[in-house]
C-alpha cells in the first residue's frame, strides 16, 4: 500500500498497517536493556532510567539482570581485556533480535585509557554495534538520543528480502567467538569478520609541503 493512500485513509479515520510495521513498532517500543554496567557511564545509564530522564517513556524501563530476557546491550564504560570475554559471552547469551549501544568514548575506542595495556580499544572488535554515543561520559540526554536513533533504525527494518536484519537471516551467526584472556593480549585481538579497521593513510615522506598555513 502506498503512503499517499494510507495518509488519505487515516484522514477518514481508517488505520492501516502492515505486519512489518506492526512487528517493528512492537519491537522498538519494548526494548529491554541488559542491566549491565562497566564503569562511570553506567552511572549515567542509571540516571537515564530514573524519574528525571525517565527512559520508561520509550518502553525501556525494564532492565533485565539476565541476558536471556534482554534484547539491548548498553556497553556502558571501559571494557578491560579481562572483562571483554564476559561481555561477548553475555552478548551471545542474549536471544535474537539483539542490539548493542556502545556508550561513551571507552566503549567506542578505549577513550582516555586507550594507551592502557589492559584496555580493549573498542567493543566493536568483537560484537556488532548498532549505535555509538560519544562523550565521557555521555549525558542521559545523549543516551536517550541514541535510544531514539536505535528505535528509528528498528522501525526501518525489513522482515523479508536481502536487506533484512541479521536475526531474520538464517545464514548470519547469532553468536560470536569469545576471545580468550591470554598472558599478553586477548586471543584473538579482534574478530576480522565484524571489525574492519579504518584505513589511515600514513605517508613516509614527512610533513605535507603543499600545505601552508
Amino acid at each position: 500500500m502506498d503512503e499517499q493512500l494510507k495518509a488519505e485513509l487515516s484522514k477518514q479515520g481508517i488505520f492501516t498497517t502492515s505486519l512489518q510495521e506492526l512487528y517493528n513498532w512492537s519491537r522498538k517500543s519494548s526494548l529491554w536493556p541488559l542491566n549491565f554496567g562497566l564503569a562511570c557511564c553506567a552511572i549515567e545509564m542509571i540516571a537515564t532510567t530514573m524519574a528525571r530522564y525517565d527512559l520508561a517513556r520509550f518502553g525501556a524501563e525494564v532492565f533485565r539482570p539476565s541476558p536471556r530476557q534482554a534484547d539491548l546491550m548498553i556497553v556502558a564504560g571501559t571494557v578491560t581485556k579481562k572483562m571483554a570475554p564476559q561481555v561477548v559471552r553475555l552478548y551471545n547469551q542474549m536471544p535474537e533480535p539483539k542490539y548493542v549501544i556502545s556508550m561513551g568514548a571507552c566503549a567506542i575506542s578505549g577513550g582516555p585509557f586507550k594507551q592502557g595495556y589492559n584496555v580493549l580499544k573498542g567493543i566493536d572488535r568483537f560484537i556488532p554495534v548498532d549505535v555509538y554515543i560519544p562523550g565521557c561520559p555521555p549525558r542521559p540526554e545523549a543516551l536517550i538520543d541514541a535510544f531514539m536513533f536505535l528505535q528509528k533504525k528498528i522501525d526501518a527494518q525489513q522482515i523479508t528480502g536481502a536487506a533484512r536484519p541479521r536475526h531474520l537471516d538464517a545464514d548470519q551467526p547469532s553468536e560470536f567467538p569469545i576471545p580468550e584472556f591470554g598472558p599478553h593480549d586477548l586471543q584473538p585481538t579482534s574478530n576480522p569478520a565484524i571489525w574492519h579497521p579504518p584505513l589511515v593513510q600514513i605517508s613516509q615522506a614527512g610533513p605535507d609541503e603543499s600545505r601552508h598555513d
Partner: protein, 123 residues
C-alpha cells in the same frame, strides 16, 4: 431455550484457553515463517552471568533444607486445624475433642521424634 448455569464458565474457560494459546501459536508461526532458530553453545549454557559455565546443573544438595521443609509442614497443618478447633471449642462434643487431641499428639510425636533425631540442629 434453557441453558445450563455452567455455560458462562465454559465460555470463560474457552476464552481463557484461547487467550493463552493464541499468542503461542502466533509466535510459533512467526518463528517458522520469518525468524530462523539460532541456538548456540553460550546461549544453551547452564549459567548466564557472563562467566563460562562449569559442571552440570544436576548437582546434589544437602538434605537439611528438605528436613526443615518437612518439619514446617507439622506446624503448618497444626495451625490450619487449631484455629477452627479453638473457635468452636466451647460447643464441641467430647468425642470431637478427643479426636483433636489425638491428632495434635500425633503431630507432637513427630516433632519429638525429629527433635530426638537432632534434626532441629543445623549442622
Amino acid at each position: 431455550m434453557t441453558s445450563s448455569p455452567y455455560l458462562p464458565i465454559v465460555v470463560l474457560l474457552l476464552a481463557a484457553l484461547g487467550f493463552a494459546i493464541t499468542p503461542l501459536i502466533l509466535a510459533r508461526l512467526w518463528a517458522k515463517t520469518f525468524s530462523p532458530h539460532k541456538p548456540g553453545a553460550s546461549k544453551n549454557a547452564v549459567y548466564e552471568c557472563g562467566l563460562a559455565s562449569e559442571g552440570d546443573a544436576w548437582i546434589q544438595f544437602k538434605p537439611g533444607y528438605y528436613l526443615y521443609a518437612i518439619l514446617f509442614l507439622i506446624f503448618d497443618v497444626e495451625a490450619i486445624f487449631l484455629l477452627p478447633f479453638a473457635v468452636s471449642f466451647s460447643h464441641l462434643s467430647l468425642g470431637a475433642c478427643l479426636a483433636m487431641f489425638a491428632f495434635v499428639l500425633l503431630l507432637l510425636e513427630g516433632l519429638l521424634w525429629a527433635w530426638q533425631k537432632k534434626v532441629l540442629v543445623w549442622t
